[in-house]
Symmetry: C2
Subunit: 343 residues, 2 copies
DNA sequence: CACAAAAATTTACGCGCGTAAAAAAAGTAT
DNA sequence: ATACTTTTTTTACGCGCGTAAATTTTTGTG
């Protein structure tokens, strides 16, 4: 590819001594041309620096090879990790993923979705903001292109949802905590950015009542995605309030838990399962870095691979079969207990 | 936008009662048409669901409104945070950022860059993999489009580099540590994924010698971007080796430090500046979550805002002036000492 | 070597838009 | 009202490629 630049496929076809339609065929599927021809094209490809113009390619095409991936906040390690998985799977399947973050802002989510819609992608994988999402915009998208919602469900929208069974997360953890010690109180945000928080709260209350305990919920103030900071500040407030009726704290998510651990550390409270500790703290999510807190965080982990795997599988199936599969399907994966040393 | 869909600009122009070229003009710059006309178009825009086809728009255009952003590993919170800043700045300036992660793999970096090049972006912001990057591919990109390299410098390539003064990071921290206690040993990876590591090591050795101390470096085994895990496992090995000649450890970066803190915790070593502690641990980067470790991590922080701000400013200037500015410029920002409780 | 099948070529059209040039219409100042 | 300027319309072409149909060449088989 050291040779000089080629303007278009016409010119490249001339250089390689092959007709343009055949070259076009090659780029759409290298296997579809005779090996001899293929070799000649690929030799030319090494000598000249040419790549078909993606705009011209997609402009007169109904389905592109693009897959849109939209997450609410990419700087959240959970979404970064999921996005990484999804991108990898798409690439392996021969698609070109296009990644969008809504940065927690509804108007950006709308912009992303509009942009995506005009890109005529083969399919879209979206984790919506949730509460603040614009239903109609997502609905539009789902109508136009095969779309899989993941992580955050929006009732009645889209053909497929793939996510985690959030109430099961809490009941799993509550049961474990009750089995091994005191029943937990619940540390969460009053206005959480992620819509799964509500389900977790409900799951907590249900599980506690099933176990015959009365729930205690501490609602942290603060808005936005700076969850560790909120966990720290409000954790301190919670501890200082003296209202904590139990020495076991279940945090609504791992990022909050990481902040809460920092609060405990600052307040000189030892966290852990051993006898010399003052408090047990657990989280939920299986955050990529939850294994490296001090103490390491006991949590319920999403089945990352299952969620990302199923999401893309389903999407590919929708793309193949034509999207209109009929009934809306929801697939919820169970969380796995990650027993570490904080609880 | 509840009205039925419009196929193309021709049809939309008919609906709004304006000629297509004028509508086209409107979409390129809404201010460029008469207020009356603008109002009529925008009214039609509310009634009908139309957006110009992005492929057709860009196909016959030399410079698009796209800005490419390429990072080596998006699941690393440092890059996630930088990417978030860059995206926001681009959007505010009226551009459409397009985000790519190389997932630590050189072949993906090449793919990303090739894709980007064919997108004819107005400009590109790239943090290359570094050591494993394909120089020629990056060089090609720089020739074709205005490009700013950030974070990881590749000598002699590109017109502009914006990053941090890594040797200064280490000397700043070494000086602080020496001033307040024992001189530090250095904990780093033998084969770090990030090319800045080498500069930090050199900076460490230099600073130590300047201070009249003999450097001690522990080289952690392991490859890839699972830095916390490596910091944990190799940290344990380092501690157990008994080779640690000092009770102050400077980690090459915060993620390694987070893993090392976990190692210390597991080995029952108290980390902090207070008298009852066994060890001081410091990091470098100002990792978004470094403030929430236990103890909170003393570190040298990148000037995130300055790096991202300067990067886009420079890029916009290159776009405006035409890229060929002549000499290669490098801007290195100083790190800021973040004094917390680990060292 | 003839012949059918497969592959490549030739030819030609269209996608949706940018954009240039010329003509017409609308707005402004005199 | 007239002359002038700004804006819009009309008309027309081209971007780079997908793709279909008809034709020619190449390949494989008997």
């Amino acid at each position: 590819m050291s040779g000089r630049k080629i303007r278009n496929m016409e010119e490249f076809a001339a250089k390689s001594g092959i007709s343009r339609p055949t070259v076009s065929k090659y780029f759409n599927d290298p296997e579809s041309v005779k090996p001899t021809t293929r070799r000649r094209i690929e030799e030319a490809l090494e000598r000249y620096d040419y790549k078909p113009n993606i705009y011209a390619i997609n402009q007169n095409r109904q389905l592109t090879k693009t897959i849109g991936i939209v997450v609410p906040y990419l700087a959240d390690p959970f979404f970064a990790e999921i996005a990484r998985n999804l991108e990898t799977l798409c690439i392996e399947a021969g698609y070109s993923p296009s990644l969008f973050s809504s940065h927690g802002r509804p108007e950006l989510e709308n912009d992303n979705l509009d942009t995506l819609r005009s890109m005529k992608p083969a399919g879209v994988l979206i984790a919506p903001l949730g509460r603040t999402s614009d239903r109609s915009v997502i609905e539009q998208l789902c109508q136009d292109v095969p779309t899989v919602l993941f992580d955050s469900n929006i009732e009645g929208i889209g053909d497929v949802f793939v996510g985690s069974n959030n109430p099961q997360f809490t009941s799993l953890m509550v049961n474990y905590l009750c089995r091994t010690g005191e029943a937990p109180c619940f540390f969460e945000m009053k206005t959480p950015p992620n819509p799964n928080a509500r389900k977790r709260r409900v799951g907590y209350v249900d599980a506690m009542q099933t176990q015959g305990h009365s729930p205690q919920i501490f609602e942290a103030d603060g808005e936005g995605w700076a969850l560790e900071e909120i966990g720290l500040q409000e954790g301190i407030r919670f501890i200082e309030s003296g209202e904590m009726r139990t020495k076991t704290v279940l945090c609504s998510n791992d990022r909050l838990a990481i902040g809460f651990l920092a609060a405990c550390y600052q307040k000189g409270m030892r966290v852990g399962i051993t006898d010399d500790c003052d408090l047990r703290v657990a989280g939920m999510d299986g955050h990529p870095f939850s294994g490296f807190t001090c103490p390491s965080l006991t949590t319920v982990s999403h089945d990352y691979e299952a969620i990302s795997g199923r999401s893309v599988e389903t999407l590919f199936a929708m793309i193949a079969n034509g999207s209109g599969s009929g009934a809306r399907s929801e697939k919820l994966f169970e969380g796995k207990l990650l027993l570490r040393s904080s609880a």
